[in-house]
Symmetry: C2
Subunit: 306 residues, 2 copies
């Protein structure tokens, strides 16, 4: 086929356009572009989708702007607890980590679980002990925290509202060989209960990839995405019901909405089609493809790439 490309998100559920400062918006847009370009470079030189996904997500994890890696939201006890998953559409191999407190790049650890362990999912202290064994530097939780997130937690605790800010970052890619891969990384919900795991690290809920159908990553109120197995559902609707990517992706978001949930997802199929449905005010998202098409957008109206 030769066509290649990738699509990313930096979280759904952003506040109203007027509540986002022009500077914040600019910084996030620039980081989305950097992430998509980083992943695209991997694909363009013939690299595997899996590597492009990890490269793009790593940029977002390191940015301190999104709710993943450094700069993640804090749980109710003021601690960053990070989750991630990665899946290879060729082999259906997957790696998943949850409840990390001392790992800077959860997506890289998810890859190590996939490549270097006999397991798919490792959690908490056991996952971090594995990280140490395969050579990941462990950081203090303070190194993951930012002043902005500490303030957000204080505000939410004071207001007594339920966890508000959503977030999460994710990527789905199609490489020159026609292989698909997807990954997701998150700090979960602001003010979440200690030990809470959402859909992001769960294969079939927040992340799925299958060369027969598509690759995708979800974002939003994870509990709803888990209950409908949103990520696998998109794949199943394509494989068993013959739906196209866009229709299948929208159907999954509709199911989440029917249960009362908010969120969105980004997906790419084996022909390079892209879908990015969401039922929130906005979703940070971007894509870039080998046919020259690209997009960077936050709210409903698409904002063409600079």
């Amino acid at each position: 086929m030769g066509r290649h490309g990738l699509v990313i998100h930096g979280g759904a559920g952003v506040t109203l356009p007027e509540e986002v400062s022009p500077e914040g918006r600019r910084a996030c847009r620039a980081k989305l572009v950097q992430a998509i370009d980083t992943g695209y470079a991997v694909l363009d030189r013939g690299g595997p989708a899996l590597e492009a996904v990890v490269a793009a997500i790593t940029v977002l994890e390191d940015s301190r702007l999104f709710n993943a890696g450094s700069g993640s939201v804090l749980n109710a006890e003021g601690v960053c607890e990070l989750d991630a998953a990665l899946m290879d559409g060729v082999t259906l191999r997957a790696g998943s980590v949850a409840g990390l407190r001392h790992v800077k790049n959860p997506i890289a650890l998810a890859r190590a679980v996939m490549d270097k362990s006999a397991h798919v999912m490792l959690i908490g202290e056991g996952a971090e002990r594995f990280a140490g064994r395969v050579g990941f530097p462990l950081v203090t939780n303070d190194e993951l925290q930012t002043a902005r997130r500490i303030e957000e937690l204080a505000r939410e605790k004071h207001s007594g509202k339920k966890p508000g800010k959503l977030g999460t970052v994710g990527c789905a890619a199609l490489d020159k060989s026609g292989n698909l891969a997807a990954g997701t990384s998150t700090g979960g919900l602001n003010n979440k209960q200690f030990g809470r795991v959402g859909d992001s690290p769960l294969v079939g809920s927040g992340t799925y990839a299958n060369n027969a159908t598509c690759a995708l990553s979800a974002t939003g109120e994870g509990e709803y995405f888990i209950r409908v197995c949103a990520a696998h559902d998109v794949s199943a609707l394509m494989e068993y019901k013959g739906l196209g990517l866009e229709e299948a992706a929208q159907a999954a978001i509709d199911k989440v909405q029917k249960l009362g949930g908010l969120g969105g997802l980004i997906a790419i199929d084996r022909d390079g089609r892209v879908a990015m449905p969401f039922n929130t005010v906005g979703m940070y998202r971007a894509y870039r493809r080998s046919d020259g098409s690209s997009l960077v957008a936050i709210f409903d109206g698409p904002e063409p790439a600079a």
Copy 2:
């Protein structure tokens, strides 16, 4: 409809018939019957499927015979780490717990997560802190351990073989109101890596229930069941492709097998049909239905209920 019934498993992957002592076989059979009768009594008096599932699984968790609750296998560090999930087919609500070391009945805690938290999944210390808060007595890990499992771990560590014994217990039920529910509880793999989570507590992988299709619980090499989203796949094959329960259940096990995985699952649909496919030497399993039909079996040939 009025028809009701339930199906349970006590794990797939048992050793060859001649390696199971007649006493052990008898004890396991008796416990399966007790579990199925306990769950059936709930259904027969008009109780909800969800309650029947928890009741049946609790009997197996407390038996010290199966790999769930008390008497679970030990991880590579000689510690019991328990996982469970529960799902309600009416509302698609679910509760999931993983990495527990101090909770005697993980299935009951999964129910509490579903009923009393805003989340679907809680892991490790956070899950146990929640357990304490909602009134669960916490036990020492020693209280969960049995001499037999300590010996099994020593034997496996000595032989250097990969984790062998499978296990897990699960139940799927249809109540008089036509509602479905499913649950799974496990100690995971003998000699597993610290922090490893298999398919059992993952909604859509080892456990799923949807009134529109079926309720089911899987057992076996969880990594493979996660990668194909086995539990949700059965439901999707029925809903989107129009397969019957038996055909859909078999298709999911075939996918697991194609990747090289071993295991089985038990399922019941909204008409009370039961499926129990497995690709291992045996699977501890039993069912009982309101039409008077019942079965208790371990190996391939069905062993009629006593």
